[in-house]
């Protein structure tokens, strides 16, 4: 069998004729010599064929070896010992080989299913080579065509280019352009060799993002006779190369009929020195390969015997001498120019190297594929979207990374270099190699450590010569730095991404509800800007003017644009220093251009993304060198860098240092510091006007703020605002209550907060409404939020042992407390609230004490008495000693009277409320408050998410605030309770919102979610019950469990149900696609919060001036209160006393939701929404037989004639229901629109 497979493989390699010919013709023939078969044999043994491939063996049960194989798939065929297994599938023990496969899969991979998933993925990202026969035919004809192009006599470069221009072909001469007085000539003779290089011949091509075609690189070796020794100078080589390319282009374009292709220029990373020819198939009869999604790229290469001395191309040499005196020039080396030239030598060598690796290391091909898929998903490649700068055309680098892992580095004579990494050897699995590569990215410090791949000839250039490069990763030929031109910031980003992925891979495999790591790592497109970066900036470069333009850098980088980008990236990186973990400059990939365009055009729009290091990001001061720095150059450098922002300051510790101070007016602005720094630096160093740098943070902030005109009322009244102030007010309340100990029958043990406003997560900043303010506020802005607190008295046996009596005693306590408080604190008002107006249960805790402090803070206090739980338990289960099964029998036999069952039901509801209100809420509050302190962006994220859900009419009515907090916490905490902060923690609330939206978009809530909210210490207690229960018949579709709430329904039992949960997903999807618009530049934050109303059957309009919360509406119309304000003063009505927590819209919503529970599903925005939307229960639209307790308002179906069968059918009486709603909402509802 193995031999058969081997033969098949050999055949496959044989199909690509062109490649075979050239590779075998090489002197490195030994790589593919006889031991090829051996390697394939090993490969076949180590890697079982892909899942699908095993089918061939199924069913055969003769011959020992084959029988072993059937074991894997043959589970379905009959079985001998089925009787001893309870499972439906009869089993045989696995055979040796099977066992080896399984063990390999589990031990060499993350898990066996991970391995299977990898196996399933790989065929989808490789081209199906067997379909590419037409391409082979094309390559053959191209080969002969290229050899048949007639020679062109030597000519002056400008004359030659003019001649070609007449044919519509612009020669892409790179800067410095040849001039009239150049004394050398360009010419063309047919190529020495034409070779297919790159990933195609080695079958390592990986599908590109966004349906970009596969690339087949064809290296055309220019004859050595075309070159002279001095061609390394001033771009002469590139000019000759450009001319060569242009001649080939014109030949193909002219005789295009023969080849039937479109010819285009393309320059890698916008560098015209690296221009290639792109051949794209046209549809036609002959050699039609247009359906293959593949393009052929022609790149001219240097022959190995070319006269250019390689020593002149060492990285530290300067090879552009156009300016001033030569001595001055020598100081500026031209590393990128030299690298670009050397790249003309490497394609063949790289091909051979990769081929050798592939043959020697069985897992190399798969590992490289995984790595490239991983990179593609994160924008480290070409693609249709914005990509990380510097990774275009870096295909070889990914292979070189694996080369490094396998073969190790070239040692250098210098002792100070870090101890050498040990090569990992050849026996690793693809997953292990992939992981090792990520590990390298995550740990390797590219700024400090240089990498020289193991090469045959040792170092070609001295390691010190690479000082001119930022990051150094020298290839196996020891000639080219593969990371030349890659900004350090992009490598930071790579490091960050690798860390993220490692984090995902390290997350527990077992934790239910966690994301599928395979999907996260390989299948998910992670190029989205808003969920990836804390700060996203859109920069328009069209009016950029570098403040210190450097002609030299421009020449070295190949174009002013590239020089600008490189400069900008490095300036931002050093300016933001430790405030950021990573910084990415994102550009669209340069696309092919027509032959008439000599130079690539660059899109002026770039995006800059910052990943913040929240420990330092919001620092107000940047310190520079001290004033008395021994080296004054440091001071000067600092001043040059920061311009007039730099100033000398004396600090508390007495030091006088150069520093930069960033002014902020409020908390929101503090979060803008990194953005402001970037904008300042961009304007200072790159001359980009600040209006061309666009960010979205401020627009997000405004969604959480009150309208200006309302806020001015608060400012005028000097009202206390802010979370901290609210907490101080709460502390004050505790003090004044504790001071009353003598006057209360029992001592107060504990007062615990359980309000969003006291844990930083209320959408709106809490405000105090002193009487002076509340009287001048317009009616539609007079909502006074109430903060819940829970009072716990010391334990006492004097409490009555009866639930109803306990509730009455609470009233008495409240009364005493209220009287005492009002006596002791001047200006404080306290009222006992005896119920909520809805609940009629007598055992339920309904009473509360409403306290309004003299400053205007409103609190609502409840009393927690722990005996209630026991009493309730007694009602629910009054015979705990009887085993469950007996009880069930008892219940069946004895007709449990209705009253008793009803009482039990009531007790169960009361118990649920009790546990939620007194046990979980305070605990939840503490945990969330702690998270708000731990993660700077957490509270903001929760607030934004709440605002978002509220504006889509879901919060409060269907999604409790607490579950929002839990979901946000899961974003910050991950699924494992480790005390370490994760790499993926969002640094700003905007990113937090994007991540939550993304989560809700993909969350399969059927699987639940586990949030390690309470940390590991407590998790041990309930470790057994960690698995969230699958959603059963409960009304809550979401199961969000914590260590202390294993079933996960504490905050979701009242919704969302499956319908609303699906709605959340739909809305998240819509918002997600709205977030993507940031890439088009016309993204408006407001659109995220605009709710479409066309899907509702009924829209009820409320009178905004009657809603005390209208001012919180996201689209509040100031004219409502401005117009009303004048009238309101005249109306005595508005002089009413402050009504804390009074929100008639919410009350009406609750009533309608309750009254029409089985008729309608009603939605509204709790934050001042002036619209209610409702949908009819679709099942009610059909007529159904009359039932006494139908639960909806019905009307008999009209019969067309009297003789109609009397089935007593009734149908929903929509008109009457609407009239009723109008009546119930009198004074609030202004109109009801029925939308059909």
């Amino acid at each position: 069998m193995a031999t058969e497979r081997k033969r098949k493989r050999n055949n496959e390699t044989g199909t690509n004729g062109l490649k075979r010919r050239h590779v075998t013709s090489d002197k490195n023939k030994q790589h593919i010599s006889d031991d090829v078969s051996e390697v394939t044999q090993i490969a076949a043994d180590v890697f079982p064929p892909l899942v699908g491939g095993e089918d061939e063996d199924e069913g055969s049960d003769s011959g020992s070896e084959e029988e072993e194989w059937t074991g894997l798939d043959g589970a379905a065929d009959g079985d001998v010992k089925g009787s001893e297994h309870t499972g439906s599938k009869p089993k045989k023990p696995p055979t040796g080989e099977e066992l080896r496969n399984i063990k390999d899969a589990t031990e060499l991979y993350r898990s066996s299913s991970f391995k299977l998933q990898i196996d399933a993925l790989l065929p989808n990202v490789h081209p199906k080579y067997e379909r590419f026969a037409p391409l082979d035919r094309f390559l053959h004809s191209l080969y002969s065509f290229l050899h048949s192009i007639p020679s062109v006599e030597p000519e002056h470069p400008l004359i030659a280019s003019r001649r070609l221009l007449k044919k519509g072909i612009a020669v892409p001469y790179s800067a410095p352009q040849p001039t009239e007085d150049t004394n050398w000539k360009v010419s063309f003779t047919k190529p020495n060799e034409v070779t297919v290089v790159g990933s195609w011949p080695t079958k390592l091509s990986v599908k590109a993002k966004d349906k970009n075609p596969y690339r087949v690189d064809v290296a055309v070796e220019m004859p050595a006779a075309l070159f002279q020794e001095k061609d390394y100078l001033n771009g002469r080589f590139f000019h000759k190369r450009a001319y060569y390319l242009a001649v080939v282009a014109s030949a193909i374009a002219r005789k295009g009929g023969e080849l039937n292709v479109d010819v285009l220029f393309d320059s890698v990373a916008g560098d015209s020195r690296l221009t290639t020819l792109v051949l794209r198939p046209k549809q036609g009869l002959k050699n039609d390969w247009s359906k293959l999604n593949v393009e052929v790229r022609i790149m001219p290469t240097l022959p190995s015997d070319c006269p250019i001395p390689l020593q002149r191309l060492s990285p530290s040499r300067s090879n552009i001498r156009t300016l001033t005196s030569e001595e001055a020039q020598e100081e500026f080396s031209t590393p990128l120019y030299n690298t670009a030239l050397l790249l003309g030598l490497t394609p063949r060598a790289h091909l051979l190297r990769v081929y050798a690796l592939k043959e020697a290391v069985p897992a190399f091909a798969d590992a490289l594929t995984l790595l490239r898929v991983w990179a593609n998903q994160r924008g480290y490649s070409e693609g249709g979207k914005f990509c990380v700068r510097g990774f275009e055309g870096k295909g070889m680098w990914w292979a070189a990374v694996l080369d490094l892992l396998i073969h190790g580095e070239e040692t250098s004579g210098l002792a100070k270099l870090s101890p050498k990494r040990k090569p990992l050897g050849k026996g690793l699995s693809s997953y292990q190699l992939f992981r090792a590569a990520l590990d390298l990215f995550a740990r390797h410090d590219f700024t400090q450590e240089r990498v020289y791949l193991k090469s045959e000839g040792g170092h070609r250039f001295l390691p010190q010569e690479y000082n001119t490069h930022e990051a150094v990763f020298v290839d196996s030929t020891s000639s080219v730095n593969l990371l030349a031109g890659v900004p350090m910031s992009s490598l930071d980003m790579l490091k960050h991404d690798a860390k993220l992925t490692l984090e995902t891979l390290n997350d527990g495999t077992s934790a239910a509800g966690s994301k599928d790591p395979f999907r996260e790592v390989f299948l998910k497109d992670l190029r989205d800007l808003q969920s990836r970066f804390d700060v996203v900036m859109r920069v328009d470069l069209s009016s950029a003017k570098p403040s210190q333009p450097s002609p030299h850098a421009t020449l070295d980088h190949g174009s002013p644009f590239n020089a600008l980008i490189a400069d900008l990236a490095s300036k931002l990186r050093s300016g933001l220093s430790d405030r950021i973990k990573a910084l990415a400059v994102l550009l669209p990939t340069s696309g092919p251009r027509s032959l008439s365009q000599a130079h690539p055009s660059n899109s002026p729009i770039i995006y800059i993304g910052l990943v913040l290091n929240t420990d330092h990001a919001f620092r107000l001061v940047d310190h520079g060198p001290p004033a008395d720095d021994p080296n004054p150059a440091n001071v000067q450098q600092f001043r040059d860098f920061w311009g007039d922002k730099a100033e000398l300051r004396r600090f508390k510790d007495g030091s006088i240092v150069e520093s930069v101070v960033w002014d902020v007016k409020n908390v929101d602005e503090r979060a803008h510091i990194p953005f402001n720094i970037s904008r300042y630096l961009l304007s200072r160093h790159s001359g980009i006007p600040s209006e061309d740098v666009r960010g979205w943070q401020a627009s997000y902030d405004s969604t959480l703020r009150l309208p200006e005109s309302i806020a001015s009322f608060y400012q005028a009244a000097r009202s206390a605002t802010g979370f901290k102030t609210a907490m101080t007010a709460f502390e004050g309340l505790i003090k004044s209550i504790k001071a009353l100990d003598d006057e209360l029958p029992l001592a107060v043990l504990n007062i615990s907060p359980s309000s969003e406003s006291l844990r930083y997560t209320n959408t709106f900043v809490p405000v105090a409404l002193p009487p002076s303010l509340s009287s001048i506020l317009p009616a539609c802005a007079r909502y006074a939020p109430v903060m819940d607190v829970i009072i716990e008295f010391e334990k006492s046996g004097r409490w009555p042992d009866d639930l109803k009596a306990i509730q009455k005693i609470k009233l008495a306590f409240f009364e005493t407390l209220a009287t005492a408080l009002m006596k002791s604190v001047k200006g404080l008002r306290a009222t006992v609230v005896v119920g909520d107006g809805v609940s009629t249960s007598e055992m339920q805790d309904v009473a509360s004490l409403e306290i309004i402090t003299p400053d205007g803070w409103a609190f609502s206090a409840r009393i927690w008495h722990d005996r209630e739980a026991i009493l309730l338990d007694k009602i629910i289960d009054d015979k705990p000693h009887i085993p469950k099964h007996l009880k069930r029998k008892l219940q069946q036999t004895s007709d449990s009277s209705g009253a008793e069952a009803k009482e039990r039901q009531e007790a169960m509801e009361t118990k649920a409320l009790y546990i939620r209100r007194f046990i979980h809420a305070p605990r939840h509050h503490r945990a969330i408050a702690a998270l708000s302190h731990r993660f700077s962006a957490f509270a903001g994220t929760v607030r934004l998410v709440k605002r978002w859900l509220a504006s889509h009419w879901l919060l409060h009515g269907y999604i409790s605030e607490e579950v929002v907090e839990l979901i946000c916490a899961s974003i910050f905490l991950g699924s494992d309770a480790s005390s370490k902060d994760r790499e993926s923690v969002p640094g700003t609330k905007e990113r937090g919102l994007a991540v939550v939206v993304e989560f809700l978009k993909d969350w399969e809530w059927e699987n639940g979610l586990f949030v390690p909210l309470y940390g590991s210490s407590e998790s041990e207690i309930t470790d057994v019950t960690k698995q969230p229960s699958l959603t059963g018949g409960k009304s809550g579709a979401w199961a969000v469990s914590t260590e202390l709430d294993p079933t996960g329904h504490m905050w979701t039992s009242n919704g969302p149900d499956a319908i609303v949960a699906r709605r959340v997903r739909t809305i998240a999807k819509a918002s997600w696609s709205c977030l993507q618009e940031v890439e088009d530049g016309n993204f408006d934050v407001k659109t995220l919060f605009v709710h479409p109303t066309e899907h509702y059957d009924i829209i009820m309009r409320l009178d905004p001036s009657a809603l005390p919360r209208y001012y919180q509406n996201i689209t509040a119309d100031p004219s409502v209160w401005k117009g009303k304000y004048a009238n309101a003063v005249l109306n005595g009505e508005s002089k009413d006393a402050l009504k804390p927590g009074f929100d008639p819209a919410q009350l009406l919503f609750n009533d309608l939701k309750r009254v029409y529970k089985d008729t309608l599903k009603i939605f509204h925005d709790p934050f001042g929404g002036n619209l209610f939307g409702a949908v009819w229960d679709p099942t009610l639209k059909e007529s159904r037989p009359f039932r006494v307790l139908g639960g909806f308002s019905s009307t008999p179906v009209r019969k067309d004639n009297e003789k109609g069968k009397d089935k007593s059918l009734v149908v929903l009486n929509t008109d009457a229901v609407l009239s009723e709603i109008e009546r119930l909402g009198a004074g609030l509802v202004t109109s009801i629109t029925v939308q059909v």
């Binding site: 599938k89 299977l116 046996g797 109803k804 005896v834 107006g837 019905s1194 007593s1208 229901v1217 009723e1220």
Partner: protein
């Protein structure tokens, strides 16, 4: 509402009555004479047969007064009982305000069983205590919103009214909206005020309620025959649990105490321990056991592998492995 179609005169034994809400919407009430309900025997006392009308699909915000007015033409209504699932029979009050009533009801209910309530007086142990009276919380005239599509019973003073009510009226009646009880925004305003009664009333209510409660407790204690001794309560209010009460209960009744014998024998705990100690078969005694165990492990391994494979295969079918 086209007049061409004929409005049915009877639906499953109910007479539909049209009630005009407005010019273009009509609510339907279904009425029937009340017949003894099967489930609640005691309810028959409340709903006298022959003069009780059973009403289905009551408007959610209907008040007793509105219904009374609605049936004024048929006869005088004695009372209206709304019976949703959540409402109790105790709503036979003069006002329809449940929220406020609840607290009050409890007192009244208990009063019903007793003799006439008398003036509240301090309780003392030796003198025969008077039954304390609960001072109710102030009631406000607010509506109760019930679930839609619920039923109610209307009890007429006179049996003849029933038949009149059952005959469908010639033309739809209008809904007699009672303007004295607020709806909509003013309802919520009123409710808000009603839920915040003056402090002295709260105090009076809570105190009087507790007095009654203690009275009830004391009475219950007296009535309970199966009791021996008096509970021992210490200064902190803890009740000492001691053996010696009747029927294995603590002194003064209440909690059951385990008997001395039971406690000493520890029968239950021993039994459980014995169960646990039961010698099990040695798992690795015979070679075949080791063999079987290993084999089972391998089979489990394989099964898991195959499960994973099936899972991946399923995912593959849903084309989940196309990254882009």
């Amino acid at each position: 509402m086209s007049s061409a179609q004929i409005f049915p005169t009877s639906i499953a034994g109910f007479t539909p009555i049209q009630i005009k809400y407005s010019s273009d919407s009509t609510h339907i009430l279904y009425v029937r004479a009340h017949t003894g309900s099967k489930k609640g025997k005691n309810k028959d006392i409340v709903f006298p047969e022959g003069r009780t009308l059973f009403l289905v699909n009551v408007p959610p915000d209907a008040t007793e007064r509105e219904i009374t007015v609605l049936f004024k033409q048929s006869g005088t209504v004695e009372k209206v009982v709304f019976d949703g699932d959540e409402e109790e029979v105790h709503e036979i009050g003069e006002d329809s305000d449940e929220e406020m009533e609840d607290e009050e009801e409890l007192g009244e209910e208990q009063d019903d069983d007793e003799e006439q309530p008398r003036k509240k007086r301090k309780m003392s142990k030796d003198s025969k205590p008077a039954i304390p009276h609960v001072i109710p919380l102030p009631t406000r005239n607010t509506r109760t919103l019930r679930r839609t599509g619920r039923a109610a019973h209307v009890i007429f003073l006179d049996a003849s009214s029933l038949s009149r009510a059952l005959s469908p009226p010639s033309k739809p009646k209008g809904w007699p909206l009672d303007t004295s009880t607020a709806v909509g925004l003013s309802h919520y305003n009123a409710l808000y005020e009603a839920l915040r009664p003056p402090l002295d009333l709260v105090k009076a209510h809570a105190d009087s309620w507790m007095d009654l409660f203690e009275y009830e407790q004391a009475k219950k204690k007296r009535q309970s025959k199966y009791k021996k001794g008096e509970a021992i309560v210490d200064d902190d209010g803890f009740t000492l649990v001691t053996r010696g009460g009747a029927y294995g209960q603590t002194l003064g009744g209440g909690v059951t105490v385990a008997s001395k014998k039971f406690q000493e024998s520890r029968k239950t705990s021993q039994r459980y321990r014995k169960d646990k100690k039961e010698p099990k078969e040695k798992e690795t005694f015979y070679a075949f056991q080791v063999h079987e165990k290993k084999r089972k492990e391998l089979i489990d391994l394989k099964r898991k592998w195959e499960e994973d494979k099936a899972k991946v295969e399923k995912l593959k079918e849903s084309r989940k492995f196309r990254p882009y």
